[in-house]
């Protein structure tokens, strides 16, 4: 099975509401075999809820520096927890 493609967004220094707007635009382009990976200064509840509402699988975890890693995919075969770098 080929490696899934990571679509990455570093939103740590983006001002509100750019992280949410860019993330929504990115996840709409997702298909099989790829996933969205965002790092952010907070856990983006609106993004997570919007993504879940629209049928995506979501995983988020905070690292030891307080940075949140948020992974989103439409591909049910991907295990997001295993793809998270925390």
């Amino acid at each position: 099975m080929p490696e899934p493609t990571k679509i990455f967004l570093d939103a740590r220094e983006l001002e509100h509401p750019a992280p949410l707007e860019r993330a929504i635009a990115a996840i709409r382009e997702l298909g099989n075999g790829n996933y969205f990976y965002m790092i952010h200064r907070k856990n983006p509840i609106p993004l997570i809820e919007l993504a879940k509402e629209q049928g995506f699988t979501v995983f988020s975890k905070e690292d030891s520096d307080g940075i949140w890693h948020v992974l989103i995919t439409r591909d049910k075969s991907l295990t997001l927890e295993a793809l998270c770098n925390v």
């Binding site: 099975m1 220094e13 983006l14 001002e15 509100h16 509401p17 949410l20 707007e21 929504i24 709409r28 298909g31 099989n32 200064r41 907070k42 856990n43 983006p44 509840i45 609106p46 809820e49 919007l50 509402e53 629209q54 049928g55 439409r74 591909d75 049910k76 075969s77």
Partner: protein, 430 residues
């Protein structure tokens, strides 16, 4: 609009709840401009009925409307509070509020006791009712952020200043003798300007400046303790003011120091943003803070010198400060809410935020606002310019009115014609 975690879908109030308050706030803004045109530079005579009418149109009609709309939006976000039946509550607040304000303005103009009584009933029940509900929810929070703590105190101030207002209108309608009219009047506007308007802005900024604009946090002496100290000072003024009228001179000096510390720190924080580009909302925050500094400088000077124009300048600076922040929040909230609700409903064709209100449109409003402030300042020295100031004020709020109507039309249009996001999951191969 987001707290540490943000706005969750089930907590977000319907878009109409926020928009309706912004709409009535803008309409009262247009009315304020019309009053300025009608009354001319008499509005700068602080003891006149005309000044009283313009001040209350601005503080109750414009600011309270915008602040209630923002609170309906921000309480779920900042404090995780979900107000039950928000549409019903908004209706129960907005209609009596509008009627109460119109009744109060008519009462000021005519001196008719019956109008004072109807204004007291409508405004008293409405403001005390909604402020108590919000306060009760905030007090029940197990953990407070600096923002939610500040909001709690600001709402406490709103309740107190409303009670003072009821005493004042009760006196004007002949209900009370008014033995303490002077003391209560001083407490009413002090709690109104600093305990409510300034403190609510300060509390919201603890969240907004750090999060929207990605700045370092406020130091503890501002973030943690300023709201309580400010409220404590106002209480000292209130209690001791019954015995020593001069206590307010001392209290005001401390308030000036607190406000200056806050405004200068906010300007510093805005200069520490990670992104160098500033949009209209950043400039509005900067303008608001500069005006607050100027207002405090004017207030300080009036404590030592009797210079009549300084009182008028202080009035313009403080109103300019509060309106600048209201405008800054407006240009963040309206595009975001429109975009957020449409996305939450799954509309693939939802307009982007810059399509709801283009950044250039917000920038144009900033120029109109600057021109309005300049015209008001010039009119203190050259009275005929007041008519230009009044016209610009109407244009400024008319501009906002158009943005709300435009956003609402886009929202409805997308709901009627928009494509929904594909919810079904594709089959995964292998």
């Amino acid at each position: 609009m987001f707290s540490q975690n943000g706005l969750s879908l089930d907590q977000a109030p319907p878009i109409s709840v926020v928009f309706r308050f912004f709409l009535s706030g803008s309409l009262f803004g247009v009315l304020t401009g019309a009053f300025v045109l009608y009354f001319g530079s008499d509005i700068f005579n602080a003891d006149s009925t005309k000044a009283l009418i313009v001040t209350h149109t601005l503080t109750l009609g414009v600011m309270l409307s915008f602040m209630l709309g923002a609170l309906f939006q921000m309480l779920p976000v900042i404090a995780g509070i979900k107000l039950t039946s928000p549409v019903k509550k908004a209706n129960l607040v907005q209609y009596p509020l509008v009627l109460g304000i119109l009744s109060l303005l008519s009462a000021f103009y005519s001196g008719e006791p019956a109008l004072f009584i109807s204004a007291s009933l409508l405004l008293g029940v409405t403001i005390l009712g909604i402020a108590s509900i919000m306060l009760k929810n905030l007090l029940a929070l197990p953990n407070h952020s600096n923002s939610s703590k500040g909001m709690t105190i600001a709402l406490g101030s709103l309740i107190l200043l409303t009670l003072f207002a009821l005493y004042l209108t009760g006196t004007l309608s002949g209900f009370f003798e008014g033995t303490f009219y002077g003391q209560i009047k001083t407490a009413h506007y002090s709690f109104g300007l600093f305990g409510w308007i300034a403190l609510l802005i300060i509390s919201i900024s603890f969240q907004v400046i750090e999060m929207f604009y990605v700045t370092p946090p406020y130091p503890d002496f501002i973030g943690k303790s300023l709201p309580m100290r400010l409220f404590g000072l106002l209480l000292i003024g209130l209690v001791f003011g019954f015995f020593f009228a001069n206590i307010w001179r001392i209290v005001d000096l401390f308030i000036i120091v607190f406000m200056l510390c806050y405004a200068l720190m906010t300007l510093r924080r805005l200069s520490q943003r990670k992104r160098p580009i500033a949009d209209a909302t950043v400039w509005l925050w900067r303008l608001g803070m500069v005006l607050l500094v100027l207002s405090m400088a004017a207030m300080l000077t009036t404590r030592f010198y009797t210079l009549p124009p300084l009182n008028s300048l202080n009035y313009i600076f403080f109103a300019g400060f509060a309106l600048s922040i209201v405008f800054a929040m407006f240009y963040k909230i309206v595009p975001f809410l429109t975009w957020f609700h449409l996305n939450a409903q799954g509309y693939f064709t939802a307009p982007m935020m810059h399509e709801v209100i283009h950044p250039k449109t917000a920038m144009k409003h900033l120029y109109i606002h600057l021109a309005t402030l300049t015209a008001f300042l010039v009119s203190v020295y050259y009275a005929p310019v007041i008519y230009l100031a009044g016209s610009l004020l109407i244009l400024s709020f008319g501009w906002m009115l158009w943005q709300i109507v435009h956003a609402w039309k886009l929202y409805i249009h997308t709901q009627k014609t928009g494509e929904k996001f594909e919810m079904t999951m594709p089959e995964v191969e292998g």
